[in-house]
């Protein structure tokens, strides 16, 4: 759910989409109108047969003129005008009767515009009720829409980046209510986690939670609504005990295995449908604890697909063991073996005497470096770290434990240390469809500085982290961590202790940022070493396979 919304793309693309849809709308409306007219004509058959034939000719004309209107992608209002003119012509029977063709469009245009507007409003309202679209598009075009609402370019925005819209929040609350398993009363719904503290206005559309207010506060203690393994997982996510894209996915699949083991099909239900419904509230719960990562999203899609593909005549035990097997295979292929393959490719890129720069703690990059060291490559590592997470300490510990000689700097010293560096290895949280790399905040800085120094930047990423989203900036979709993490106590003094009292002060703790493909020289995946721009190709191939 978090991944499927199409966000800001290039403007032209969206215009084309809009025109096409509106063109379709118009023809649909046309068709509806035609049907109505035919009914009316059947009623008035004995009265005016001639007019019917006249109208049918005009309808054909208007149908043909409306059709080309949908095809050319440009000149939006121009297209609308000619399509608008012949459209009113066939509509009401009395209007098309007597007056001259010049007068006809003038009179009927005004009347029929009003009628059409009313009809379109009704249809729009019904569509909105079904689809829940936020952005509305007046079919008559922007130029003719003074009373209508603001028209955002995007068709549908995912909920998690619309936190400042109260309607969306209400919808989310209702959805959480609806998602409780049937048979429980309203008091046992999934709780809604409330935001904490002042949010910087540029990021007010995102959630910001406090670690001191865990979601378990609002749940009953022997958790009956949500499986205990999922509650444990949610706690571990929100407290940061399980952090890192791979770790989160593995832990998620482990918890799902426990859920599947404890699952029993209720009578009159099918496992393939009921289990997916059971998983939905768990996923909402985990989303509330910490927004899902791209890798987790892909893993969930895979599991849901596997569950729905179980044949209905399969016995429960068989089905369960099959699912558990699938999960094990997925982890083995996509994470463990992928890491081995990536390590194999990367070792070719590491030569003796290299000075490799890594940022933060990426499990994959650490794995690669340890493997390379075991294969007796001689290199040294520079670990760059940043506040507030200071994950580099953990990477440093793991590398030094193996015997690799390391240097440790903070990100503010990166331009000082870069002349020594021969290669930069970065890990990724997700690879977006337009080739951008989403990773820990600070990665794009490192890539930028490395580019300025002409140091090659290699990104290591498994294919299961590739995601359909398209993003060019770090603002639209990101994660806000607990702002209290930025507060530090030195020599017994905590300067930011009362930051809530200062009205104009906001603390921002971003988690991710996106790096443009211009800064990335190579992406090493389990399918091989590809340039950043080949990501959509891989996605396409993956979709075809599935």
């Amino acid at each position: 759910m978090a991944d499927s919304g199409v966000t800001d793309g290039p403007n032209k693309k969206d215009e084309i989409e809009r025109v096409k849809s509106e063109g379709k709308d118009l023809t649909k409306e046309e068709k509806q109108r035609l049907r109505k007219e035919k009914k009316q004509q059947k009623k008035n058959k004995e009265k005016k047969d001639d007019k019917a034939s006249q109208e049918s000719e005009k309808e054909k004309k208007s149908a043909t003129s409306a059709a080309p209107a949908s095809q050319p992608p440009t000149q939006l209002p121009a297209q609308k005008a000619p399509s608008a003119v012949p459209a009113p012509a066939p509509v009401p029977v009395p209007a098309s009767e007597a007056p001259a063709p010049a007068d006809k469009p003038a009179k009927s245009k005004a009347e029929l515009k009003a009628e059409r507007r009313a009809r379109q409003e009704a249809e729009r309202a019904s569509k909105q009720g079904k689809k829940g679209e936020v952005g509305q598009q007046a079919p008559q075009g922007k130029s003719k829409a003074p009373p209508s609402e603001l028209q955002p370019v995007v068709k549908r925005l995912p909920e998690h980046i619309q936190v400042d819209n109260p309607d969306v929040l209400k919808k989310l609350a209702k959805k959480l209510e609806r998602q409780q398993t049937p048979g429980y009363n309203a008091a046992t719904k999934i709780p809604l986690r409330s935001d904490y503290g002042y949010k910087v206005s540029l990021f007010s559309h995102l959630h910001q939670y406090s670690r001191k207010a865990p979601l378990t506060q609002q749940l009953s203690i022997p958790s009956t609504v949500i499986h205990p393994a999922i509650v444990q997982l949610g706690l571990q996510y929100s407290q940061g005990i399980v952090a890192g894209s791979n770790a989160r996915s593995v832990a998620l699949l482990h918890a799902f295995k426990q859920v599947i083991r404890d699952y029993t099909t209720p009578p009159n239900e099918e496992l393939s449908r009921d289990l997916v419904n059971k998983l939905k509230p768990y996923i909402s719960f985990l989303n509330q604890c910490r927004p899902l990562s791209a890798s987790m999203g892909n893993a969930i899609k895979y599991i849901k697909k596997e569950i729905s593909n179980i044949p209905s005549q399969c016995k429960e035990e068989e089905a369960k063991s099959k699912l558990l097997n699938c999960i094990d295979c997925y982890i083995n292929e996509k994470i463990v073996l992928a890491a081995k393959a990536i390590a194999k490719y990367s070792i070719e890129k590491i030569s003796d005497g290299d000075v490799i720069l890594v940022y933060g703690c990426s499990s994959l990059v650490n794995h690669i470096l340890c493997e390379a060291f075991e294969k007796s490559r001689k290199f040294r590592v520079i670990v760059v770290d940043s506040r507030p997470r200071l994950e580099g300490r953990e990477a440093l510990r793991r590398l030094v434990q193996r015997g690799i000689s390391c240097t440790y700097v903070l990100i503010s010293a990166v331009s000082y240390i870069l002349p020594e560096v021969s290669k930069v290895f970065l890990g990724a949280h997700a690879l977006l469809a337009n080739g951008y790399v989403m990773s820990r905040v600070g990665t794009s800085q490192i890539a930028l500085v490395a580019k300025a120094f002409n140091v090659p930047v290699l990104v290591c990423c498994e294919t299961y982290k590739f995601c359909d989203r398209v993003q060019t900036d770090s603002f639209v979709s990101n994660e806000l961590d607990d702002p209290d993490d930025l507060i530090v106590t030195r020599k017994g003094k905590t300067q930011l202790e009362d930051w809530h009292q200062v009205d104009s002060l906001g603390l921002l703790n971003l988690v991710y940022d996106v790096t443009p493909p211009d800064f990335v020289d190579l992406v090493i995946t389990d399918l091989g070493m590809i340039p950043c721009t080949s990501v959509p190709v891989v996605l396409r191939v993956k979709n075809v396979d599935q």
């Binding site: 865990p214 378990t216 506060q217 749940l219 009953s220 203690i221 022997p222 958790s223 009956t224 205990p228 509650v231 444990q232 706690l235 571990q236 407290q239 940061g240 005990i241 399980v242 952090a243 890192g244 791979n246 770790a247 593995v250 832990a251 699949l253 482990h254 295995k257 426990q258 982890i331 994470i335 463990v336 933060g360 703690c361 499990s363 994950e391 300490r393 953990e394 990477a395 510990r397 030094v400 434990q401």
Partner: protein
């Protein structure tokens, strides 16, 4: 199911025999509710639906016949009766109900009155996959004078030394002063792993424990452990740093090696691994989190057995196991529930002065010109005219006749205080009768077997 609640209500109340010789400790009225109601209410509030109650037959009878209790407690209570002789410790009781236990358990003592946010303790248990999670609270000074107490307050004999790590959550060391004859000694392995340890002495153990199911299975194998607090918890805390539970290979000192031989045989039961141990290990390996920084070991130092403690600094937490605690609890317990201070069925005349912090139970009759301040009056009590009751606890069915003056006292059930008696800081036992016009000024304690006026006068020395 995630957690099963077990309520230990078979304790004898050995430290307040004055009150418990007649009525069992779980049924002592605190704020006009039986003591056992408070932990049950806590469990009900957080969402438990079933509780296993381990108690004596007497208590079970009393609880099931009390109509008020049936309305108040909506959970399903699974009564397990054990013998009253008192040889069974809390761990023995757990062993007794081992068949009923299917998941991890939450053990609560019947004398705990607290408003803790229970999720804090259980979250530690869940998030870190701990073997033990317990609750402790900063001890509060008891300010009320205690009737019948002789000599100075006992100071240091029963101190508990609790060692926690820097975050204040991980339990590193626990010992009672009575067990430490030569002084406090801490193993080197603990110091190596946790160089900064905070040792606290002013803590009250709330006797609320989350234990893994494996611990209950371990208890069935080891019949030598009989008390949870006294033996099991210190054992588990020590076991965290035992050599065989760790995957690290350090040089042992001789002491550790001996310990290893002794403990080795009993270790494996505690570490029953889950079915997907490899997956959990993989997740932990890939995760970039560590609970400590500065040395080369992985998260939790590779130890599988972990004990956590949640230390409350604000809020109520009392263990009613002494008379002083009982009196303090009576003052503060009414804050925990929102029932009206005066029960609707009580008949109180208009010319009576009642303070807002007093509680009057059901079917009381309070006559004119009485003054009741900072007191708790039990149900079915009759208070006649011109009586002054201050700072006292009066239990059920007591008759106080005209002109009495009761201050700072505890009057147990069914006692009769005759006309004009003047009691200050006294404790009147069950069914006692105080003669008219008697004056007991300092701290007499009237015991049941003294039929008429056998008053022990103790002079209370303030130090």
């Amino acid at each position: 199911m995630e957690l099963q609640a077990v309520l230990m209500a078979a304790g004898g109340g050995s430290r307040m025999t004055d009150l418990t010789y007649n009525s069992p400790k779980p049924m002592l009225p605190v704020g006009n509710k039986p003591l056992m109601w408070y932990p049950l209410n806590l469990l009900e509030r957080v969402g438990f639906e079933e509780v296993i109650v381990i108690t004596t037959k007497e208590v079970q009878k009393m609880m099931s016949t009390d109509p008020k209790m049936k309305l108040d407690v909506k959970m399903k209570l699974d009564w397990v009766c054990i013998q009253e002789d008192g040889d069974m410790g809390t761990a023995d009781a757990l062993r007794h109900i081992q068949q009923k236990i299917k998941t991890d358990i939450l053990v609560v003592s019947c004398d705990l009155i607290t408003d803790v946010a229970l999720h804090e303790v259980v979250d530690l248990f869940r998030a870190h996959n701990a073997t033990l999670a317990m609750l402790m609270s900063k001890a509060h000074e008891f300010t009320e004078t205690v009737p019948g107490q002789k000599g100075k307050k006992k100071t240091g004999n029963q101190r508990d030394f609790v060692g926690v790590d820097q975050s204040g959550k991980r339990l590193l060391f626990m010992a009672n002063e009575a067990d430490l004859e030569d002084g406090l000694s801490i193993r080197k392995s603990i110091m190596r792993k946790h160089p900064r340890m905070h040792i606290k002495t002013g803590l009250v153990d709330a006797h609320l424990y989350c234990l893994k199911k494996a611990v209950v299975d371990f208890l069935t194998e080891n019949k030598s452990i009989s008390s949870i607090r006294g033996e099991l918890v210190p054992y588990l805390v020590r076991k965290q740093f035992s050599k065989t539970t760790n995957s690290q290979k350090n040089k042992d000192d001789a002491e550790d090696q001996n310990q290893k031989k002794n403990d080795g045989s009993t270790n494996h039961e505690l570490l029953i691994s889950s079915r997907d141990e490899t997956l959990l290990q993989l997740a932990q390996d890939r995760s970039c989190w560590n609970d400590h920084h500065g040395d080369m070991s992985e998260a939790y130092h590779g130890g599988k057995l972990r004990c956590y403690v949640h230390i409350m600094d604000q809020g109520l937490c009392y263990r009613v196991n002494t008379l002083a605690a009982y009196i303090e609890a009576n003052r503060l317990a009414p804050k925990l529930f929102e029932e009206p201070a005066v029960h609707p069925s009580a008949v109180i005349s208009e010319r009576c002065q009642m303070g807002s912090d007093s509680i009057i139970g059901a079917q009381c009759q309070v006559a004119d010109k009485t003054s009741i301040k900072r007191s708790t009056i039990g149900h079915s009590t009759i208070i006649k005219e011109k009586v002054k009751v201050t700072n006292s606890i009066i239990m059920h069915g007591v008759i106080i006749e005209e002109g009495c003056n009761i201050q700072g006292s505890v009057i147990c059930s069914n006692a009769v205080i005759s006309r004009g008696a003047d009691l200050k800081y006294c404790l009147v036992g069950n069914g006692q009768r105080i003669e008219p016009e008697s004056e007991a000024n300092t701290h007499p304690y009237i015991h049941k077997h003294t039929h008429i006026l056998y008053i022990y006068v103790y002079i209370y020395i303030y130090i």
